[in-house]
């Protein structure tokens, strides 16, 4: 018979793990960048590495009818790139799918 109270349990294990996972502030940054001419690019940085970004990008490409890739960045981890200004689309999609809470989203740009 084991005494439950004496089990070693680290209540902060979760916190430590997640702070290692997200390099930054735990926010998901959605940014826009101008390319040549009128073209733009949307980047999504800070998605949890527990998610399969490749699957996400595949779904988004289909949903928003745009091209997209996943880029590996040494500091920011895997970053989603989508063609065009998909900021509204991606925010809606991420919250609707439950991957990101609305308060975690930080949208940048003009």
């Amino acid at each position: 018979m084991s005494i439950q109270n004496l089990n070693t349990y680290d209540p902060f294990a979760d916190a430590i793990k997640s702070s290692e996972d997200d390099v930054q502030d735990g926010l998901v940054h959605v940014r826009i960048q101008q390319r040549n001419g009128r073209k733009t690019l949307t980047t999504v940085q800070g998605l949890s590495s527990e998610y399969d970004l490749k699957k996400i990008v595949r779904a988004c490409k289909k949903e928003f009818a745009c091209n997209g890739t996943v880029v590996e960045h040494p500091e920011y981890g895997e970053v989603l790139q989508l063609q065009g200004d998909q900021r509204e689309n991606i925010c809606q999609w991420l919250t609707k799918s439950g991957l990101v809470k609305p308060e975690q989203l930080k949208v940048h740009g003009f």
């Binding site: 960048q33 101008q34 980047t43 960045h73 920011y76 740009g109 003009f110």
Partner: protein, 308 residues
Amino acid sequence: MDDDMVFDPSLKKKKKKKTGFDIDAALAGEQGESTSVEAPAGTGDVDLPEDDNLDLDNFGKKKKKKKKGVFNMEELESTLPETPPAEEPEQQEDEVIDDLDLDIDFSKTKKKKKKKNIEELVLEDDKGEDQENVEDVSGDLWSGTDRDYTYDELLERVFDIMREKNPSMVSGKKQKFIMRPPQVVRIGTKKTSFANFTEICKTLHRQPKHLLDFLLAELGTSGSVDGNSQLIIKGRFQQKQIENVLRRYIKEYVTCHTCRSPDTILQKDTRLFFLQCETCGSRCSVASIKSGFQAVTGKRAAIRAKTA
């Protein structure tokens, strides 16, 4: 330059106009009395884009003031009737019903009943308000009696005390920045000039470097201040877009997060920036400016040449 000449950074996408909240109304009344000094310019500054003409008229005045070196940053909102008098909403409802009568052929008797009901309601409402008003005037109703005070009474009391002792803080809720809009001009096809960048920094009492960092990080581009103290940004941006970014800057780094007063100081303290309010004394840390991930957008050939 196309739309509103007076750029009001605290504008929140045209909402918030029709909230008939009594506390606001009360405050608006008080402001009118307390802010008569700054009032002349304030009357037209009802900050919605539709008010083009008014704003344009005022613009001249502003300019003059600025030349004298008086920055009119904290302009209190005018006392123009933002909140309609108490009876109006009910009247509107009546009108709506009338419209329906005209448009759709419902059985009229029903409508009339409804109307009556509403009128009755109005009457009742009026009575209710009257009673409340009586309570307001007499103040602490529970003093001298055995009964407990109600939450509403307490709330009313604390607001009265606040208003009485600190009119500027209560009205601080409605303080607005009025500053000149950013002058944004395209240079060629690939660059944009933000001509009055330095001037705006001065108006906001912020280091140009700080605003520059924020602008460039938000726009995801590069740029620098040239010899004529204008900011040259890579990429094509419209005035509207720059305005949006400025608005966000002001919200995060200029106006106090507690009382929204623009009378603040930005201090750097061990890698973090703190916003110290001169009005209410609150001090809070603000987000550090990070440009974050930047995608490579140049020509592929150039990238290949670099990496190879």
